[in-house]
Symmetry: C2
């Protein structure tokens, strides 16, 4: 096993700290909403993709259609999502967030951002500038990888 480069090390160091911190925030928030993790994850997916069919959900989370259907049911009943018929394929359903669902996601986002704001307050002006550029580069690279996959 060869020793990782300084670059790799700092990337990994950041990942360890960041993961730990954001996982905690994530689970805390999900719990505070009263939703289970699977339910909450589906809301996040819908937020990302916009509109999804049932099968898209089951593939994404590697569960059966039956499981997805039942989870969706609960989310509909609690008013976070809407289940509409697809006019082009009447077998299919189109799932999407309701206003209430979007508000929930937004609240979670705000909470996550609070930590970033605190983080920001620890940096000098020059550091902020450099960090901003670096993260833009990383974000861009990540998006490229995403498309490829």
């Amino acid at each position: 096993m060869t020793k990782p480069s300084p670059f790799t090390q700092s990337l990994r160091g950041w990942m360890d700290v960041f993961m730990h911190r954001s996982m905690r925030g994530w689970t805390r928030f999900a719990k505070s909403t009263g939703l289970s993790m699977p339910q909450f994850s589906i809301l996040m997916q819908l937020h990302h993709k916009g509109i999804c069919g049932m099968s898209e959900i089951s593939e994404r989370f590697d569960i059966t259609n039956a499981a997805a259907s039942q989870l969706a049911d609960k989310l509909v009943q609690s008013g976070y999502i809407e289940r509409a018929e697809d006019p082009n394929d009447r077998r299919a359903k189109m799932l999407q967030l309701t206003l209430k669902g979007r508000e929930l996601i937004e609240a979670g986002r705000t909470e996550r951002y609070r930590w970033l704001d605190e983080l920001q307050s620890k940096l000098t002006a020059e550091e902020k500038l450099k960090v901003a550029e670096s993260l833009k580069v990383l974000t861009e690279a990540a998006k490229q990888l995403e498309e490829k996959a």
Copy 2:
């Protein structure tokens, strides 16, 4: 609502992409081990803290002692952790990872790092340098916040 600064924006953009990507990896890996999320999270906590008492676990995850005890039981039975008596306080138990547990965590880490390596390959030499410095700064800031809390 005032418009966020460019710095804030790039920080948030990165967070969105990074969170989405690493949550997926995280849940996939946990599932692949056959462990439930709560069980897996306890292993992670033990990896972080080294040795924990039962109450530390229940506080950290906001569950009752009873729940923690039962979860620990399963992890002991599957050989990932060890439950020893605390010589200083014979009511207390000391939970820690076994070799098998440490190996599991290590495997997860490796998997997460793979993505970082791919990310790295998209960057030029100068970018790497700048990114490395930036992340060191951020990691440092994050650790400061952690101590304070």
